[in-house]
Amino acid sequence: MVDLALSQDLSASPIAARLHRFHAGDRNFRRIAFSCALVILAMFAGILWALIAGAWPAISAFGLPFIWTEIWNPVTQKFGGLAPIAGTLVTSFLAMLVAVPVGIGIAIFLTELCPRPLQRPIGIAVELLAGIPSIIYGIWGLFVLAPFLQQYVMPGVIAAFADIPVLSSLFAGPPYGIGVFTAALILSIMTIPFISAITRDVFETVPPVLKEATYGLGATIWEVQSKVVLPYARSGVVGGVMLALGRALGETMAVTFVIGNSHRVSSSLFAPGTTISASIANEFTEAVGDLYLPALVELGLLLFIVTFLVLATAQYMLYQLERRAGGRP
């Protein structure tokens, strides 16, 4: 490139060729990057298309009532998704009921109460734990938690609530150990580190000046948290919770081990049930007949739609927080 000016009048053509090559390389690089970005969109469109195409026989055979029909009979090829859909929603809801307060509590502890030297180690530990594969929680649930609940917890709870009208049906039946309750508990255990890691990050976006000013007015720690930090970080916390919910809804392995895979809607939380992902994982390779597989794929399609809505809300909320924090870097 240095001798560009010198040789300009002597031999313009090789340099022109070289510049041309440069230009072509530049253009190709851009094209590659662009098409790789399109791959992302193609993947998304492909997933939607594949799920709809795969589920089509079931969609046209069962129609909309699929969603509220409980029957699941491979022999007569009659399928309805109520049990797995209800199971997915109930387990995720219960898991969030436990994991959200605990996760936020841990985040408050980490940002306000934790002694300095412990802050980083505990924070890092929480983040590392959020990355542990779900199958680990599943195997632990099967071998440790379920037997423990069956022996020590469930009989007591069932006996204690036997005479109370609503609770007796909520905690009824023989103590199997596995079931909806156990699955929800495992789900909450595995989403706790996830929620607390995100919530802590969100809390750290709150400008220290705001907190210091409130402390300066004589507020207590709780008042600073509930009146300044939480309102400021609200959209971020909601976004984080939605992300965790999206995870819980689609979680497969942690649930499959302990839910019992029974296509029946029961009023008792101790009864075995199933979720969408557990049904697919358990039955997919054994599904025979024209409608069995499509019915499972239709469940997958419903799961995808629900998680899409939840995750899109999560993103919107986190985007709101980002905008308030000053936009993307």
Partner: protein, 281 residues
Amino acid sequence: MNNQRYLRRRIRSAFFMGLSVVATVFGLSWLVLVLGTLLYEGLGGFDFRLFSEMTPAPGDDGGLLNAIMGSLMMNIFAVAVGTPIGIFAGTYLAEYGRHTKLAFVVRFVNDILLSAPSIVLGLFIYEIIVLPMGHFSAWAGSAVLATIVIPVVVRTTENMLLLIPNTLREAAAALGAPRAHVIKQVTWRAARAGIVTGVLLAIARISGETAPLLFTALNNQFWSLDPNAPMASLPVVIFQFAISPYRDWQQLAWSGALLITLTVLILSIIARVLEARTDQK
């Protein structure tokens, strides 16, 4: 009167802070329990045979060699395919299309894919690869894992490139470097550690991925390196062995689970160290 009110506020605060300590103890003790059990049960079966012998029939002794090998192979395929696509797509988002509408949509879709249920990705690959091929295969398993790798790499690559100051790009452009050279010689180099972090996190993510492999790569009891045939993988073997009634299979499942956890933890620790180093620069 005023003092009493102040006291009430203090008590209220102490109460809620107490709750947050309880929450921390509650949350972390579960995790200690899980990891403790894992170590206790898993270490019992940690020996040389684990890495040198095939998965056994019930009652025989054996190891997890074919499963470890299968996981390695499928992970390598997935990373080999997913990483370049992810890096280029992330580069597009950060370098070319930063403020375009297309980039906005791609970013949104990518973040959805990042947290989409992996079992749904499994169904997708089943429909587009397993069904047309007519049989389960390690190719299909690798394809699923690649679809999980790509969004992770895209996200971290974009984030890391955005951290590079624009003055660097401008300086390189002022020297007459074409855009592609600016990216290859300057921004990629500056963000190298961060991009590697993303790849490591992606590997950590797919190392324990089980659900979508159940109906793409399936499983294989025997030694097989044929990517066109079903292949064993560590997570799937753990799943099958754990729900089996045989004590020695369950032991292998625990050891395999410990192996996966250690892999994931080590990978994430390396990734964190790398990330911390980039931040310091």
